[in-house]
């Protein structure tokens, strides 16, 4: 503290929570009376600037957080994002609407099919393409499986960051089972890109449906195992209860959505309030928290996994009833014809050619949001009528979650930073795009 050891009256810092995020510099000096403080006191000497990341096991991706510490208390917290900025929005303008589907997987790479669906829904709004009912049901099934996958990673990584290493292996073991199901259905474990404008790429086989049902039957018991490990656990409780509380007003001011908003007590779930893809036909509940701390966010996500299982079971029932139905629209402006027909019919060949080379969406703008595991994931697409997209903006919930880190972390102990980062749950793929 050599600079202020020259004494003199020291001003008390006034700190605006979250000012670190907007970069407001404040002068930092401490009140002390010369002669009373031991300058060798390591606890209240100088402030330490610590750099957390971009390579760090607990930052859930390449996030850099600049923390100014007074001992163990965080005085100023400033996240630095952009270490995974791959230029996706620019890529959409270069590649075209269809080819960008592959890139949407890699946004929130823990739930690739959810991103695919969100993008397809936005394009379908722009192009006014109806999706057949079986296609919608398959999409709901895939979206809920993705939600479970993402929440499992949240559980696994947050637990291992806080020391509960076994949870990592439990949750990854379950994720491997879902990967096997998706591998059987879509051909790839992750980054499946299985959604198309107007539906899904191919139908679900009865064998895959049976496997998914078998997995759904045994999964609630696994969630019980997770809860047995964590929910009543004294250490988990101490590290999460009353840490990082968010009031509903704070959530809305900071554009938080999803489990972060619901844990604060706000009843807001896009699947219920602004349903899409047939969600209004499913019977499920939306868990709401009370005080919006890390523990509430954990409880909300655990319960969401249980509700996702319910939705998946209902989706499978609907699939059984609609067997043989259409799963992909036949709007030949945007949907590729089946391969066999391309080789026999002139019209279909022309459609194929046109879609692959020169697919244009009508002029205008559209925005569609889905309830992803992190919050409101939306695509704002603007077209000027040509085959070259004008703008594709990805509204990523993760960016808002990262923005909220200083709000929650400033003033707390540094060990709470890990709880806060884990419970806010963001993925750098969508934060940086």
């Amino acid at each position: 503290m050599s600079t202020s050891s020259t004494g003199g009256p020291a001003a008390k810092t006034t700190r605006v929570p979250g000012s670190g995020a907007t970069g407001a510099r404040t002068t930092r000096t401490f009140e002390f009376a010369p002669g009373e403080v031991d300058r060798d006191d390591p606890l209240h000497g100088e402030l330490m600037e610590l750099n957390m990341g971009p390579q760090h096991p607990a930052t859930h991706g390449v996030l850099r957080i600049k923390v100014v510490l007074d001992g163990e208390h965080m005085v100023e917290v400033e996240p630095d994002v952009g270490y995974l900025h791959r230029g996706k929005e620019k890529t959409c303008e270069s590649l075209g609407w269809r080819k960008f589907f592959v890139h949407t997987d890699r946004l929130d790479y823990l739930q690739p099919l959810m991103n695919n669906c969100a993008y397809a829904l936005a394009l379908e709004k722009l192009g006014a393409v109806p999706v057949p009912e079986r296609g919608q049901t398959i999409r709901v099934l895939l979206m809920e499986l993705s939600r479970v996958m993402a929440h499992l990673i949240y559980l696994g990584t947050t637990s291992i960051d806080l020391g509960a290493v076994t949870m990592f292996f439990f949750t990854f073991s379950e994720r491997e089972r879902i990967y096997t199901l998706l591998d059987a259905y879509t051909g790839h474990r992750m980054n499946n890109t299985y959604i198309r404008i107007g539906g899904v790429y191919a139908d679900v086989e009865p064998a895959v449906e049976r496997d998914i049902r078998a997995w759904l039957d045994q999964f609630p018991a696994k969630i019980d195992e997770f809860e047995k490990m964590l929910t009543g656990n004294r250490i988990w409780f101490d590290r999460n209860r009353n840490i990082g509380s968010l009031t509903p007003e704070m959530c809305k001011a900071w554009s938080l959505s999803g489990p972060n908003l619901r844990a604060s007590g706000v009843e807001w779930d896009l699947r219920k309030k602004q349903p899409y893809s047939g969600y209004e036909h499913y019977d499920f509940e939306v868990p709401i928290g009370t005080i919006g701390d890390c523990y509430d966010r954990y409880a909300v996500r655990i319960e969401e996994m249980r509700q996702s299982v319910r939705i998946c079971q209902q989706a499978l029932d609907r699939l059984e009833k609609s067997r043989g139905g259409e799963f992909l629209s036949d709007d030949r402006r945007y949907v590729l014809p089946p391969r066999g027909r391309v080789q026999t019919s002139m019209e279909e060949l022309i459609h194929q050619f046109k879609i692959v080379t020169d697919m244009a969406l009508p002029k205008g703008e559209a925005y569609h949001a889905v309830e992803s595991s992190k919050g409101e994931l939306g695509f704002f697409v603007a077209s000027d009528g040509t085959s070259h997209p004008l703008r594709c903006h990805i509204r990523a919930p993760g960016l808002m979650n990262v923005q909220a880190i200083p709000v929650l972390a400033e003033g707390r102990l540094f060990s709470d930073m890990v709880s806060i980062i884990g419970s806010l749950d963001f993925v750098m793929g969508e934060v940086d795009r």
Partner: protein
Amino acid sequence: MGSLKPADGHASETGFFVTQVDWVVNWGRKNSLWPMPLGLSCCGIELMAMIGPKFDIARFGAEAARFSPRQCDLMVVAGTLTWKMAEAARLIYDQMPDPKWVIAMGVCSSSGGMYDSYSVVQGVDMILPVDLYVPGCPPRPDAVIDAILKLQKKIEREKPFQLLLEGDVVGEYDSGTKRFLRAPNHSVPTTRSHEVLPPTKPGGGHT
């Protein structure tokens, strides 16, 4: 150790003892490759799955996936490297003590992948030397385990003790900077930054 060298001093005909020591050292190194997971994006999740219970690289000796580069041998660059992150990646590579190996996991780190954009490094070998490239987006954990096994075969072919005897490892001592100039532990192609990086023209891409 002069008596163990053949009379004509050709390094390639070094005796039985040296090759056996080489074999033992390589055996130890290849069976305890501790990975330094530079998990950047989606491949990082498959890397975590590989460390996880189903694929379990601990059975190949890669037990301790430390996140501190000072304690690791094998850097697995899993995910897309951007130019903003490149400095950090290079620093981490430099912090790793020798002997060290690099696996470029996934197409993004091998060649830039599907991102031919303004912020993505078109292949991590633009900034650090790579031993193995694993294609896939993301590669299955099986593929990366195959890569580790191939890397083990590559390590078997190294000659660490021989290099030490020949003095190549220690090499020259530069009294100006007071540092040893050491040869690398393995014959790996140097990074492309050794060559003059072709100037990127405005409006055009990098290589």
